[in-house]
Amino acid sequence: MIPDFSKDDITVVSHYLGKIFVALGIVQILPILVGFICMEMAAVIDFFISIITCLSFGSILLYFSPLPQELNWRQGMIIVALSWFIAMCVSALPLYLSGHFECFLDACFESMSAYATTGLILIQDLDHLSHAHNFWRHLMCFIGGQGIILVALVFFFRGGDALRIYIGEARDDKILPNSITTAKFIWMVSFTYLIIGSFLLAFVLMFHGLPFTRAIFHGLCIFMAGWDTAGFAPQSLNILYYHSFVFELVTIIIVLLGATSFGVHYAVWTGKYRELKEDFEVKILMFTIFMTYIVVLIGFSGNLVFGDPVSFFRHTFYQLISGHTGVGYTNIYSSQLATWPELAIIGVIIAMAIGGCMNSTAGGIKVFRLGLFYKSMKREIRKLSYPESSYIREYFHHQREISIDDNMVKTAMVITICYILLYLSGALMGTFFGYGFLPSLFESVSAAANVGLSVGITDTSMPALMKMWYIFEMWAGRLEFFAIFILIRFLVKTVKKR
């Protein structure tokens, strides 16, 4: 029998949420520093209000929920799901105070989009937003890409508790023997790439005549949102703002690195370069990129709508790679994307739905699961071809040789079905509100797979219910469902008890 939720559960959850509140407050010191450097005092006040709110709530929760016993899996999952929801609300506060949002819901949409590394935006007049607020938008992407819990993990959690929370955030690859050292490794990789990537982008921008400070600010923002496959940009034109093919090429490299599993990064960092060639997930990622691009090409039926072949490739491949890795960067207008042939749009939808690698910053079903289905199918066919008494095993190489078992396939299948249902639910909701089915499906997949490409539906004028549903899609898609399901069960049980 499944045990009921007890008062202890609430105490444990409240205690750790208190810690998350404190962590979110501390993190906001960074945009305050940016505000001071850029002499943006109005922004500093916005963040001051937000920090005080976080610290107050955090202190109250920590006081009334003293240090609990060790976490169990269920509590870990609830903490993860609630942390993301709370992070969305408190991080939306400085955004809303900036005056660039029509309502608090829009600000919440923006912060969930950043944390879930989606990239759909509802901000108004982005081009006149303060550096501090803009930096905060991108910092949220950086934090969310690694995982909100991962931030707190390094500082606030005990070893045993850490693992239960770590897995709740849709990460099940223990690169190193312990979750905290894994979290530290992920942060080390991210910070190293952050320095290299930001300077590389800044260098390209300086070549185009930008002064160093502007170039480094843009480089930093674009890297944070690119590496974490979020797709935010400091200007409303997104990547189109820079008018630079070289800049776009650098962003492609960054997003491909972001969509690659941290396990592969670890292998490369430790000198095992062969992993890049041998890892089954990397191979499938390359294969699906190739195949979905073929679909896009067939969709255009050889009609080079962007002029010459290079321009055609530049624009079509950029949208495809952006969709597949889940970054959502774009070098065309959403109204242009909306006029693409239906088959080309379907190609991008498939790419978005598949997503990047497991344990990367990308969203979607993940190529790993797709590969697993392929291997499982191959195993079943072989089983049928051999005598009944034969024992057939199928392996794949993912940092080591792994044998496929039924449990692995079953879990992958459940998550995949959940994703498909989520994609369809958003599409049906869009259709219900009067948008076409294909554009609705595109936008829904973009939200649930945490991509951020848009055909123009995501707008401040869209119905509030759709905004809320997209927030749910981003949240559920990022956490890969289980944490949310357990939270819903917890809430239902708590309400029923009363």
Binding site: M41, I45, F48, I49, G209, F306, S335
Partner: protein, 163 residues
């Protein structure tokens, strides 16, 4: 009949090329304006990006921005580019709109032939609402007091009772 047709097409060309278009109209109906001379008005924003024998500046109008390609000779005219705390130069641009510019790898852009400054941009003094300052200050004081009290209480509770 021929005269009427000439008059109608003349009027259409006048409508498209003679009056200022919004950037939104260009972006949402690119086929209508493709390769035609257009007049657009808006605020220059962001940064100047150097290119070969020219430069890029993005122009914002009706909530949408578009890249405008200028000849180097126009650079001196631009003094303010819109960003936080700065209102960019409000300009009128006459130029050719490209749905897919061949020169710039298929980008949607405008190649400006003339640039007219309608209103010079300014640096805005940052306005901080007094109510916000008072609210932040009060919140800070109350919260710090509450956090302090909670901290003292928790310390007191953690002390051994037999002291």
């Amino acid at each position: 009949m021929r005269i009427i047709r000439i008059v109608i097409s003349g009027m259409a060309v006048f409508c498209i090329a003679g009056w200022a278009q919004t950037v939104r109209a260009l972006i949402t109906n690119p086929d209508m304006f493709d390769e035609k001379t257009v007049i657009v008005e808006g605020e220059l924003i962001g940064d100047i990006f150097k290119g070969r024998s020219g430069f890029w500046v993005n122009m914002l109008d009706s909530g949408m921005a578009i890249g405008v390609w200028f000849h180097d000779s126009e650079k001196e005219k631009i003094k303010f580019l819109g960003k936080y705390g700065v209102v960019g130069d409000f300009v009128r641009i006459t130029g050719v709109f490209h749905k897919r510019c061949i020169q710039h790898s298929g980008d949607m852009d405008i190649h400006a032939s003339t640039l007219e400054i309608l209103k010079r941009g300014t640096e805005k003094k940052e306005e901080i609402p007094v109510e916000k300052v008072i609210f932040a200050f009060s919140l800070g004081v109350v919260s710090l007091a509450a956090i302090g009290i909670l901290h003292l209480l928790s310390r007191k509770e953690s002390l051994p009772h037999n002291r």
